[in-house]
Amino acid sequence: MSNRIDLKFQELNKLNEKALITFITAGDPNIKTSYKIIEKMIAEGIDILEIGIPFSDPLAEGPSIEKANYRALNSGTTTDDVFKMVEKLRIIYDIPILLMLYVNLIYKYGVEKFIRKCVEAGIDGLIIPDLPIEEVEEIKLYARCNGIYIINLVAPTTKNDRLINIVKKSEGFIYCVSSLGVTGERKNITTDLADYFYRLKSLTDIPLALGFGLSNKKQINGLKGNWNGYIVGSAIVNIIAQYGIESPEYVGSFIKSLKD
């Protein structure tokens, strides 16, 4: 059984293309609109979909995504609602789908039950921002034998010792955090991305996707390093914050602008 994520990167690799990975918080402003936004994004050609499950205290997020979480919770969105939406998407779409969520949502749901639900819904991987490799085993135990990837993150602060260790245990791709700090758009990324990229590349062949602070085509084109993919989140969430239930169109145009 091979994972859709691996297939996608193999495919892109052949075409010498980079993955466009986009993030929204499910249920922002409501689950129906989220579904429409996702359809639009897929229509515009995103490669991998990252869906956030809203949490009361999203402590790795900047103000944009933080507020998206509150909007989603206010619209009553639960973990089960997100699973239902993914099930519905899977009837039509075969795109790799990742859930982005805080570890407590899994833990409290019950790790085993959560992973089973992921399998049933057709989830390919999990991004858990508050689960460093030191603590990952408890969940990986269930994920691994069910073919669900846990996407590891690395940060500019990660030192070589741990980097080697993280990279060794990675699957799917590595989420490379571009900058110190939380999620959110950034005018300048001050990290030495060339060095960061080569340090990582020298350790692994797993695809490397860069995230945090990416917001437009021009910026992305100007980034140093031959990354395998780019993750765009806050820029999309900001559009949703502005246009609410009208946002699918606007998000669509934005994705288009990234692809051009």
Partner: protein, 395 residues
């Protein structure tokens, strides 16, 4: 090397960006905690800055009035800045200094930890930023100016419920932005490893003093120790040195707010379940999906939806018992102690006093209870007045 877990509780559930910082702190902590020079410096700070040792006070009037066990109060309220918080701040600040840090961030609820941190930061010439919930800033405006006077920058946190838990989250967020030169000085035995261990080590002086003092005064061990539990630092501070003494009963008192059967309480162990939040696996008040619940206690220092992992463990293995006490009961104890002994306790500590009042009556006259009087109540007088419907208008 300290263990990262207490049974299943504890751990390091934080964003990757912070992991190296935690490791750096852990290494420094392991290096210095047994270093005789560091110990000596810390001892001096305890003495010269915190005003340690704190008295073990025999509450003769209270004992007489209740007619049961002898009650002793460990007077952490007499520490400089007015609570036990300074013990931990001195330890961590000294460590941060050794690590070459120039900047300190911290969270605060009622402002006690913020004031203690701002105080020691001033003395250590460290830059200091305090995160405080918007609600708490309004409730404790005076403490805000106290911190500013001491040269600290106070940042209002209006995300979430605008209270302590959000201040912690925001401090974490800020830390990821400037993890290189900044030290996050956590105020209780919560958060990711090594904080729960570290804060305990810097607070255990309380229990060490108590044991020495009670043996000197009474020539025997106490039958019970009672402390309030927010994050749990004052409780672990007084418990730690007695954990092996299995005949000494340990009681942690949680904030029951309007009652544990209402939606307005912060009784984490009584009503919570195991979860992972703020970097640790522990007990939390949460819904079935793992969403952290809004909590309530009139005591800002106990108004937190989690508890330190070591307490979750002590509860699980039955070594300590955790008991809820309501706002109403705490106010009763607040007034009782004020009038009985002339001691106005922090409203946090009043929770522990209330339980001790009941416990004493069920015990014999030759038995002993030690209550951790974790802080002084000046800060709470305004709120208790309001609770009782008295209007205070300072001009």
């Amino acid at each position: 090397m300290m263990n990262k877990k207490f049974g299943e509780f504890g751990g390091q559930y934080v964003p990757e960006t912070l992991m190296e910082a935690l490791i750096e702190i852990e290494n420094a902590f392991n290096k210095y905690i047994d270093d005789p020079l560091f110990k000596k410096e810390l001892e001096k700070l305890y003495e010269n800055v915190a005003n340690r040792p704190s008295k073990l006070y025999f509450a003769s009037e209270m004992t007489k009035d209740l007619g049961g066990a002898k009650i002793y109060l460990k007077r952490e309220d007499l520490n400089y800045t007015g609570s036990h918080k300074i013990n931990n701040v001195l330890g961590q600040m000294l460590l941060a200094k050794k690590m070459g840090k120039k900047r300190i961030i911290c969270e605060t609820g009622a402002g006690q930890h913020g004031v203690a941190t701002a105080t020691v930061a001033a003395l250590f010439k460290m830059e200091c930023q305090v995160f405080m919930g918007k609600e708490d800033i309004q409730r404790q405006a005076l403490n805000v100016f106290r911190m500013e006077l001491l040269g600290a920058k106070v940042t209002s946190v209006d995300s979430g419920t605008g209270t302590l838990k959000d201040a912690v989250s925001e401090a974490f967020r800020q830390w990821t932005r400037e993890v290189d030169d900044t030290y996050y000085l956590m105020g209780s035995i919560v958060g990711p490893h090594p904080y729960p261990v570290m804060v305990r080590e810097f607070q255990k002086i309380i229990g060490e003093e108590v044991k020495e003092q009670i043996l000197l005064i009474e020539g025997k061990m106490p039958e019970a120790i009672v402390a309030c539990v927010g994050g749990g630092s004052n409780a672990i501070g007084i418990f730690h040195n007695f954990i092996k003494d299995v005949n000494v009963k340990l009681f942690g008192i949680e904030a029951a707010g309007s009652g544990v059967d209402t939606d307005f309480h912060a009784a984490t162990i009584s009503k919570g379940s195991t979860g992972i939040f703020h970097g640790m696996k522990s007990k939390f008040l949460q819904d079935k999906y793992g969403k952290i619940m809004p909590v309530y206690s009139m005591s800002a220092g106990l108004d937190y939806p989690g508890i330190g992992p070591e307490h979750a463990y002590l509860s699980e293995i039955g070594r300590a018992q955790y008991i809820p006490v309501t706002d109403k009961e705490a106010v009763e104890a607040f007034e009782y102690l004020s009038q009985m002994e002339g001691i106005i306790p922090a409203i946090e500590s009043a929770h522990a006093i209330y339980y001790a009042m009941n416990l004493a009556k069920q015990m014999d006259k030759d038995q002993i209870i030690v209550v951790n009087l974790s802080g002084r109540g000046d800060k709470d007088v305004n709120q208790v007045a309001k609770y009782k419907g008295v209007k205070i208008n300072e001009q």
